[in-house]
């Protein structure tokens, strides 16, 4: 289908983008890669009056390396991460995950910030950023603020990002060089959204051992203490983690999430 009519602006500066968004009275939408918004517009599930393209904003592009973190501009594409054109804060986890998102033609345009703002529960970056305890930096005409990825999602496809706020960057804490991770995405075809995700990260230097059960109804479900899953699979703890993620024992969803967790555990120990 074809989208309903909309206006389009491509501002040069972040300030102007924020003003346009604030002035649109809830009828404006940011567009970055358009790889989630495009389908939604084409299906007329959303009919905004104005699209504000942020791909030209220098404030949202590029990557900054800090001592303990890497700060990715919101318009960093999945393909740039896949290709290693930007540094990987998580010892190869980001590169691996990027390659499994959609298809190359989608990865060339889709962005980190767009994926997080869209917050599909099955989206890969949402799950990774919760796992890594990243911060999402926001800007609006009211000012700047930062939200933790763990507090980003407040419902299915819903986030705490205000209607007037723009994601500017994502601050990902660095893993130490010896840290290990695993990420298991269950889907029927490469490039599809996940039916189940499970991921673990162990970083002795940072005293960190946690995980997530993802592709839930809304936010990824944290595993605060992943030690029972290092080098061994604790079935009782696993059942608990999958139940805590909202799945009914015996259901198909429960089963695929349990298997995803098991495979993430196997990946970590291999």
């Amino acid at each position: 289908m074809k989208p309903a009519k909309f206006d389009y602006e491509k501002p040069r500066h972040l300030d102007d983008a924020a003003k346009l968004l604030a002035g649109a009275n809830g009828e404006g939408k940011i567009i970055a890669g358009g790889q989630s918004l495009g389908p939604i517009l084409n299906l007329r599930l959303a009919q905004p009056a104005l699209l504000i393209d942020v791909r030209g904003l220098t404030e949202l592009s590029g990557v900054k390396e800090e001592r303990d973190a890497i700060v990715y501009g919101a318009t960093t594409t999945h393909a740039a991460i896949e290709d290693g054109r930007v540094p990987d804060a998580a010892n190869g986890l980001l590169r691996k995950v990027a390659r499994g998102i959609a298809y190359r033609a989608v990865r060339n345009r889709g962005t980190l910030g767009g994926s997080l703002a869209h917050a599909d529960p099955a989206a890969d970056w949402l799950n990774v950023m919760v796992l890594l305890d990243a911060d999402i930096e926001l800007f609006s005409a009211r000012g700047k603020r930062s939200v933790r990825a763990t507090a980003l999602v407040d419902g299915p496809l819903s986030t705490v990002i205000g209607a007037d706020e723009i994601v500017t960057s994502i601050r990902v804490p660095k893993l130490s060089p010896k840290a290990r991770w695993s990420y298991y995405k269950f889907n029927r075809k490469p490039g599809e959204f996940a039916e189940a995700i499970a991921a673990l990260v162990v970083d002795e230097v940072r005293g960190l051992a946690r995980g997530i059960v993802g592709a839930t109804a809304a936010a990824p479900s944290p595993i605060a203490d992943a030690r029972p899953f290092i080098g061994a699979f604790d079935p009782t703890k696993a059942a608990h983690a999958v139940t805590a993620a909202g799945f009914l024992a015996g259901s198909y969803e429960y089963q695929v999430h349990l298997v995803a967790l098991k495979r993430a555990v196997m990946q970590l120990s291999s």
Binding site: P3, F6, Y103, R104, A105
Partner: protein, 155 residues
């Protein structure tokens, strides 16, 4: 309406477009380049895949206004391209098409695989092709055709 300047198949084009015009409709209806096909219109099938700024992109979910200043190549723009020539021959030799609806998008993706992943094996080729649906061939011929060109390039 918005005025855009865009280079398509080496020729600069200026046009006035509605912001909701996607790039596929733009090349087909404004420039009469009908080699690009449209299937699902939501990014899933790959029929509309064309090259934008050197890499494959879905032209059904890229709006023409958002491609102002871009360099675009549609399947018509590869007539003199050596890799595309080799792929066309290989597609023909390996029976990699029947109705041909998926083929323009398939060829753009195939060319990206050949140039970006020179060491791809069958598994990797299939993984990379997951975003281009073919309702006729069953993919065997397509995978063989791409492998044929990958192998030729190693000689």
């Amino acid at each position: 309406m918005k005025t855009i300047s865009i280079t398509v198949n080496g020729k600069p084009a200026q046009a006035s477009v509605e912001p909701r015009t996607n790039l596929a409709d733009f090349v087909r209806e404004h420039l009469h380049l009908t080699g690009t096909n449209i299937g699902c219109e939501h990014g899933v099938c790959g029929a509309c895949t064309i090259e934008v700024d050197g890499g494959p992109a879905r032209s059904c979910i890229a709006y023409a206004v958002a491609c102002d200043g871009a360099t675009v190549r549609t399947i018509e723009g590869f007539a003199a391209d050596a890799t595309m020539h080799a792929l066309r021959e290989a597609f023909s030799a390996e029976h990699a098409l029947q109705c041909g609806y998926c083929t323009p998008g398939m060829l753009i993706t195939a060319r990206d695989i050949v140039l970006r992943l020179p060491d791809a094996d069958d598994g990797r080729v299939r993984e990379e092709l997951a975003g281009n649906l073919c309702r006729c061939t069953g993919y065997v011929g397509i995978v063989r055709a791409i492998r044929r060109v990958l192998e030729q390039n190693k000689l």
